[in-house]
């Protein structure tokens, strides 16, 4: 099993940049290209915004939890909130003509575009977990020097 970095934060929009930068930085260290790492950062950013705004309703007492993990050929991020959940299957397609002028509703669309797989899991009584997965690029994987999560743990240790 791959090692993990876990982050637990109050539901403050001000922490979204931190989560994005950590995701992008870890993705770069894992060997993703600059462009792919930015995409991963943007997807995680949207998941964090969703968790803080729509999941926890901006209630700072409710934490969000973000974890990063390298597992096999996947870079996996989980974002958890403590909210009542929402029906993610019912979100409107922002590309539909009637939605093009909407000023919100593009977050999940961005997530799905920027990573290979997005899954939502309702945790009864505990909130929602969003799982984002990005497969390692073949060239990047061949060239990467080691496990990004492990290398950070080494430095901390």
């Amino acid at each position: 099993m791959g090692r993990q970095i876990k982050l637990r934060l109050e539901s403050r929009i001000g922490y979204v940049d931190l989560v994005h930068e950590l995701a992008e930085g870890l993705a770069r260290r894992a060997g993703f290209s600059k462009s792919s790492a930015l995409n991963i950062g943007l997807a995680v950013r949207e998941a964090a915004i969703n968790a803080i705004k729509h999941g926890n309703g901006m209630d700072v007492k409710k934490p969000i939890e973000v974890s990063f993990e390298e597992r096999g050929d996947l870079f996996r991020i989980r974002v958890r909130d403590r909210g009542p959940g929402f029906d993610w299957a019912q979100t409107a397609n922002p590309l539909d003509r009637e939605n093009i002028y909407r000023t919100s509703g593009r977050g999940i669309f961005f997530m799905k575009h920027f990573v290979d797989r997005v899954a939502f899991q309702r945790r009864p009584g505990k909130g929602t977990e969003v799982i984002l997965e990005k497969r390692f690029e073949q060239a990047a994987r061949a060239g990467r020097s080691g496990d990004a999560v492990r290398s950070i743990k080494r430095r901390k240790g």
């Binding site: 940049d17 949207e46 590309l95 093009i100 002028y101 919100s104 593009r106 669309f109």
Partner: protein, 111 residues
């Protein structure tokens, strides 16, 4: 995110730089465009050349600015979206509703 405003006759150019994201960039963008609309400016160009990326909140605010300008019978156009910003405009199909220019002189002459 920074927003600097220049006036070229009847046209106002807002040079944006940094990132347009939730909680800061989106708010500054809103404030900059609202100030111009409140002054009665009718022809606005948002120069996105210095913007590295936007998130869904930034994109949403861009659409909101477009709609507010339209409601006040003003016109808001985009200049020089690069890299990720251009990708996002294409991805969201917003390049179909915005007038987008690569050349500032051409953008200025378009009003």
């Amino acid at each position: 995110m920074k927003a600097n405003t220049r006036h070229h006759g009847k046209v106002t150019v807002v040079d944006l730089s940094g990132k347009i994201t939730i909680g800061e960039g989106d708010i500054k963008l809103k404030q900059a465009v609202n100030a111009l609309l409140d002054e009665g400016r009718k022809n606005i160009i948002l120069n996105l050349g210095g913007v590295s990326y936007m998130d869904s909140a930034g994109i949403g605010e861009l659409v909101a600015c477009f709609k507010r300008a339209r409601d006040k019978e003003a016109s808001l156009k985009l200049l020089n979206p690069n890299g990720k910003v251009q990708d996002l405009l294409i991805l969201t199909k917003l390049q179909e509703i915005f007038d987008i220019y690569r050349d500032e002189r051409e953008a200025l002459a378009s009003f």
